[in-house]
């Protein structure tokens, strides 16, 4: 049992780094994912994850596998796409989701083209699916910093974010914080996706944001509880996914997201808040 559950982390530093990275990611991505889901923007997260690819790819073209260049490139590309999609939606008749979809397909095609022209197939795979088993110190520090920043900024903008979801008219009547909070939140989303990109790649980084958040919906009735469940799901997925990857040889990034997906399926079936089985099982009604 020890060899199965703890040994790999005690024995190999790369496993400990991978675990530390996924735990750091989970603490930032959990609350961001819950708010994203409650704002009905889950697919926006997917779009933004693809949008960072060409920026990171340009960073790669300029400086090779350099953490700073790829991170800055990804951030600029992600924020630019968020901004452009918003502008196109406002100055034309196209809705924001369609506009984002168009930008994300352009970004994905552009990013894959850039990486393929400059790098090898291995580079392309790293871009798309990450390399969680190869996290070095600077990358870990970057991921932990992004989480620290996310939690700090979320603490400041939490009230307007929540109120903007539940009663936007009231928020606008008491404060002008709604729009700045939304923009800050989008920036946090891009930051977390960039952090996740180093471990899980562009295609899967959104997985650690969205899947744990959707799990939270099945276990908690209030936002705070959902965030706690989402963070726990992220941490458990990271731990179990890394073990599965270690023992079976499965690729680590996809293994982590597959474990999260398995928890999601279990939650859909057995989650006490709206799960399928609790709905089907007849229970006696209450007195009041």
């Amino acid at each position: 049992m020890y060899d199965l559950l703890i040994g790999p982390f005690q024995e190999f530093e790369f496993m400990r780094r991978a675990l530390a990275g996924t735990i750091a990611l989970s603490f930032g991505a959990g609350p961001v994912g819950v708010i994203l889901m409650l704002r009905r923007m889950s697919l926006v997260g997917d779009t933004m994850a693809h949008a960072i690819l060409p920026g990171a790819a340009i960073g790669f073209m300029v400086a090779g596998l350099d953490l700073f260049a790829m991170t800055v490139g990804g951030l600029i590309a992600g924020l630019t796409v968020a901004l452009l999609a918003g502008v196109v939606a406002r100055v034309t008749d196209l809705k924001e989701d369609a506009s984002l979809a168009a930008f994300f397909l352009m970004s994905l095609a552009l990013g894959v083209t850039i990486v393929s022209m400059r790098g090898s197939n291995v580079d392309l795979l790293n871009f798309l699916f990450g390399s969680v088993l190869a996290l070095d110190d600077p990358t870990l520090i970057l991921m932990a910093s992004i989480t620290t920043l996310s939690l700090t900024v979320l603490a400041v903008i939490w009230r307007p974010l929540v109120l903007d979801c539940v009663d936007p008219g009231f928020l606008r009547s008491v404060s002008r914080a709604g729009a700045p909070a939304h923009i800050a939140f989008l920036a946090l989303l891009v930051l977390n996706l960039v952090g996740g990109f180093h471990a899980l790649g562009t295609l899967l980084s959104v997985g650690i944001v969205i899947v744990p958040a959707t799990v939270g919906r099945f276990w908690a009735r209030e936002v705070t509880g959902m965030v706690a469940v989402a963070v726990a799901t992220g941490v458990i997925s990271g731990y179990v996914g890394l073990l599965v990857s270690f023992h079976t040889g499965a690729p680590s990034g996809p293994a982590i997201i597959l474990v999260a997906a398995a928890i999601y399926v279990g939650s859909v079936l057995f989650g006490p808040v709206g799960g399928v089985v609790p709905r089907l099982l007849p229970r006696r009604h209450l007195e009041a």
Binding site: L38, A155, V156, I157, W158, R159, P160, V162, L163, C165, V166, D167, P168, G169, F170, R172, S173, V174, S175, A177, A220, R221, E222, V223, M226
Partner: protein, 247 residues
């Protein structure tokens, strides 16, 4: 007569289409005024302009020194996402925004105020209930509890008694009377003409512009009501530019 709100050639609308057109007039401090008119008359638009959610297309609203936080606004219930996982307590506590702002904590005194507000609307014991589990009348009570906490000098109520039973409407109107007695200025958009006749001293009949204004007996005549209905039907998607605005 001390004004609380002054409308100066006020035009409000969406994408250049006016929903309120060249409105002039004022609301006296301490007034209890009903705003009535058919659907599409611009009642909600006017309220959004008053509370500052919507910027005027032209003209302006003079709030006579009122800060944004001195205004309490009850939006239509339809604008609230009832699927959002928030408890009654948390939604009511949002009424403390004036004191707490973005991140000040809620202490014992504030918690007591939330409990008192819930008690005042008859919802003691509902604190932990998610808003999605409330009836329409209960949700309206929750929103009135939030208004109580806002402790505002101007209270703007958009269709506060729609789709709720008579008992709830009477209870909540008791709060409106109390606020009026405390000298607060109250504007309420209503469809229940009988309630306006019996309970409001002043009425503004709106149909994208002011049709009439004064006591219910003077304003709510069959002729005025008929005129209001006709004016609302005059909305035109292909309208040209307003010549009044260009002058």
């Amino acid at each position: 007569m001390v004004p609380q709100l002054v409308f100066r050639d006020l035009t409000l609308g969406y994408e250049r289409h006016p929903a309120i057109h060249h409105l002039d007039g004022m609301v006296e401090r301490g007034a209890l005024m009903a705003v009535v008119g058919p659907n599409g008359a611009g009642k909600s638009t006017l309220f959004k302009g008053i509370v500052g959610i919507l910027s005027p297309l032209s003209g302006r609203v003079d709030r006579c020194g009122l800060d944004r936080r001195d205004i309490a606004y009850l939006p239509q219930v339809a604008e609230i996402d009832r699927t959002f996982p928030i408890s009654v307590y948390d939604l009511v506590a949002m009424g403390l925004w004036r004191q707490t702002g973005l991140f000040a904590g809620i202490g014992t005194r504030e918690r007591d105020r939330v409990h008192h507000a819930l008690a005042a609307v008859g919802l003691t014991g509902f604190e932990k209930r998610p808003i999605g589990n409330l009836s329409g009348g209960q949700l309206q009570r929750v929103l009135f509890a939030r208004l109580l906490l806002q402790d505002a000098r101007l209270i703007v109520l958009d269709e506060p008694f729609n789709a709720i039973d008579t008992k709830t409407a009477d209870d909540l109107f008791g709060l409106v009377r109390r606020w009026h007695g405390e000298g607060r200025t109250i504007l309420a958009a209503l469809h229940d003409i009988e309630m306006v006749r019996t309970s409001f001293p002043e009425v503004l009949l709106l149909a994208r512009e002011a049709v009439a204004r004064g006591t219910p007996a003077d304003v709510l005549t069959p002729g005025n009501l008929q005129k209001a209905r006709r004016m609302c039907e005059a909305f035109d998607d292909d309208a040209g530019e307003c010549r009044v605005a260009a002058e």
